[in-house]
Symmetry: C2
């Protein structure tokens, strides 16, 4: 048995059964080993950003890591943006970067580069396997590190000769027990659970009681939930605390995986625009963080504060990502005397299917009217997608996956990975036209794997978010040459043609009625679909 | 005047008049300044790999840097693969990475990451501007560093507040003179010259004479030319040396910019496959490097040597990339008594236009029959493109730009940048179907800018190079699950549809006659074209 096969077996033994990949020569033994380890499913992406983003989407839904196999430094480079998003989402991901053979590195061959330097900014854990025999152990360690809590990107940099050489011994000489044992049961994606990951450390009762006391004081307070607190169980506990104490319930701006819709407590998300977030936080004396960071402005703007916490507001942490977040919320619920019966679930209702010319609002209403129960929504709709959250708030229960790290090009790959993690659930990708073009190759993987993903492209012919930002940063009255850099209208992108080129059926819609009809068709039929929603140009 | 405008002016003053960009919020002041500095042309790419690859192509043809504007760490990440190729090509490129405002970094906002760690592996030079006033100086220093020789990637990491704040003073307080002065004349792309870059240090006469003595000894010897030695002037001198001494004339495997065709001395390129390169080098006693690295295997293969220099062969360096490479070759020519009259130019002739079913050979012959004089060929045709070099060897004089760093996804962006550097010259991009999908967004920039690029996609429905490598690395008889990871056939990519989706006219051809007709049409008409050459599946 060679190292590559041992690595694959080690991953499977640790519960990883899906490997997204865009391999090259240095990873060929890993690819060849797929035939020896049938429990591992290989999923090909045509670009590394698809591979890493899909692993992110998979991990968010499955609650356990997929592997992402990348080719040397440049292959890792192409995957960095979505690994950045995964790191921000605390998604468990095991990245495997193939490297030149150990003895080959000294020759500075064309693809040689400093992989460590590229990997560190996006990796919470990094290891260089020492020998073929250590790979099974290294795989187990990577999965453990990736799983957290908090989840993170764990990276193995595997030289080709360590992949192709025979395993001698069982790896225990390398300082850890062999990572053998029966495969962990593959739990699939629980319909509402992310049940793969360990719960984390219990939060001490003193902290819980102290925060309970603050909340019972009657002073203006808010709970800010994020991370693993945005599962239904966490939201129910948080809603009960809110109900019992009058504390406001807020959610971080871009949660990694928010459960919402009918039956789940609604939670107000902090706005992206600092001006709006400031208004949401105004007057607070206490802000309680629950697996969320203290709110800061996404970007700096001249003359505006970066820290959004109002003056005179104290910030306390109930639980970090390393803690048993849901347990801490339950403890707080008990401590404040909150109801034990799940309360505060959102009432179920749908908007009327819209009529007339297509607007961003009409797209949102059409989706709200049609969103299937159990859907997973990957949201990279940016400005044009602004109304979707409101119009789907009362739709049947679903999950919402956001752009956690701000690195554009996440939406389609995350949708792809989510669909593989939950093959029985419909997936919706909300894409802005600009964002869609970063990792559009994900559509091909969706077609190849027959994934049930419906992509709505909000086509406003521009980087509308940047039109907004251009004025927000005080860059002055923008001229024609500046505006041309934010303009996607010359030529206008034809997403029907682009999707069909990758084997995905697609349609272009210009009225609300067409939107409704296309959504119905896409949800009724298995496999991927793209709907190009043609809107007016620019911002709203 | 704010820092962003000063930076733009500084770049223009140093001779940089083209900025490829995919900006975000932190770069908005830079974008706004385009209207104040009309000498700077902004060119939008829909993905950062297009931006950096286009800057590489521009620099290879213009001989002076373009700028590449990127958004924070993830934007840089997306551009790393093609910066890696540019670094390997010794192309002058000025990379500008926008960062969060200095005071905002402490807040660890979602897009915060370790930009330095990402930038270092692909940057020969890196600077953090200290103030708005220093930006003009920093721009001049970056252009100087990028220009070399040897050329390199020079990176400026520019915080948003340094961009938006007013310039106070002239930057000399930051330790260098202000980078003002009249703009350097913009020379455009000389038809056969890369005349922007400084020549480099003179090689000392002792080295030249010593190498001349070796070559005159009559022992089997070869000149291995690369880098700036592959311009026509260098090749004429090298050919004269070869003719006078009997030394073999070889070229590195993937030259950044090789002049070839009728009238230019032909040079045998070292093969990509180590087995073939070993045969080319067999029996040599002396290998003379001229701005080239000593030959090594691209990848390591079990049981095969990494170093391809035969045993008993001495390796000497005539000139490195820092030296006056062409001057050194001319000196050597003189020292060995080589003819001063340009000799050894390739005879001009074309293959007959092919007939019958389309094969990789027929595509190559059709191109050889039609390649316009003065063409620039960006070659990422990989396995299916193997025959093109031979069939175009006697075509009218042209330039050939190779995949220097092995990071796939270079071809279309490099073609895009080359076309902007030389608007009067036809550009041909040779693309493999797999490779084309990494940075296909380049087609949109070609359409927007009306660039005269003809792209031939060799469609064999697979990562054929990896089918070859899978057996070469000794990964054994590959099974069905392994082969599926190298297969692009489910679904087959429709490049006509993909190109049209980005506004580029396209055609699908299945016979040699159609190929000839489509090439004639594409060369006769301005603007971009894509020709999907449908071949049999897999390797040849």
């Amino acid at each position: 048995m060679n190292g590559a096969r041992s690595l694959l077996q080690g991953l499977v033994a640790a519960g990883v059964d899906t490997c997204f990949m865009n391999p090259g020569t240095s990873e060929m033994h890993f690819v060849a080993a797929l035939d020896d380890v049938p429990a591992m499913r290989g999923v090909l992406g045509l670009f590394e950003g698809v591979v890493t983003g899909a692993a992110d989407g998979y991990g968010r839904i499955a609650g356990r890591p997929a592997a992402a196999l990348l080719h040397l430094g440049p292959g890792l480079g192409n995957g960095i943006a979505n690994l950045h998003n995964a790191r921000r989402a605390h998604t468990p991901v095991v990245t495997i970067v193939g490297d030149h053979a150990t003895y080959h590195k000294a020759f500075d061959a064309p693809l040689e580069s400093d992989i460590d330097s590229l990997a560190r900014p996006v990796s919470g854990w990094l290891r260089h396997p020492a020998s073929p025999a250590s790979l099974a152990v290294d795989a187990a360690a990577a999965v453990e590190a990736a799983s957290g809590p908090p989840g993170t990107v764990a990276t193995l940099i595997v030289p080709a000769d360590i992949s192709w050489s025979d395993v001698v011994g069982d790896g225990s000489a390398d300082g850890a027990p062999a990572g053998t044992g029966a495969p962990r049961p593959v739990e699939g994606a629980g319909r509402w659970k992310r049940d793969g990951a360990p719960a984390g450390d219990a939060v001490d009762g003193g902290t819980v009681d102290e925060i309970a006391k603050i909340l019972r004081s009657g002073e203006p307070a808010a709970l800010l939930v994020g991370g693993r607190a945005t599962c239904a169980e966490g939201l129910f506990a948080a809603a009960a605390v809110s109900q019992a104490t009058g504390a406001k319930l807020l959610c971080e701006t871009f949660p990694a995986n928010l459960e919402r819709g009918a039956g789940v407590p609604a939670v107000e998300r902090l706005a992206y625009l600092a001006e709006m977030a400031t208004a949401q936080l105004e007057g607070l004396r206490h802000l309680i963080l629950v697996d969320a960071k203290s709110p800061v402005s996404f970007f700096a703007y001249p003359g505006k504060p970066s820290d959004l916490v109002p003056e005179g507001c104290g910030v306390r942490t109930l639980a970090t990502g390393a803690d048993d977040v849901v347990g801490a919320l339950s403890g707080l619920q008990e401590s404040v005397g909150g109801s034990n019966a799940p309360t505060g679930g959102t009432e179920g209702r749908r908007p009327e299917p819209p009529a007339g010319p297509l607007t961003a609002q009409a797209v949102a209403a059409a989706l709200g009217a049609a969103l299937p129960e159990g859907a997973i929504v990957s949201d990279e709709g940016n400005t044009a997608g602004l109304f979707v959250s409101g119009e789907t708030a009362h739709a049947p229960r679903h999950n919402w996956l956001c752009l956690t790290g701000g690195a554009i090009g996440q939406g389609l790959p995350v949708a792809t990975g989510a669909a593989l993690a939950a093959p029985d659930r419909p997936v919706v990708a909300l894409e802005a036209d600009g964002s869609a073009m970063y990792t559009l190759q994900a559509l091909w993987t969706q077609a190849r794997e027959g994934l049930d993903v419906t992509t709505i492209v909000f086509d406003n012919g521009s980087y509308a978010i940047l039109e907004l930002e251009l004025s927000r940063v005080g860059a002055g009255a923008s001229g024609e040459r500046a505006r041309a850099m934010l303009d996607l209208d010359r030529p206008r992108l034809d997403f029907v043609s682009l999707a069909q080129g990758m084997g995905v059926p697609a349609a272009r819609v210009t009225t609300a009625e067409e939107m409704t009809a296309q959504l119905a068709g896409a949800f009724a039929e298995d496999g991927p679909h793209v709907i190009q929603a043609v809107l007016g140009k620019g911002l709203f």
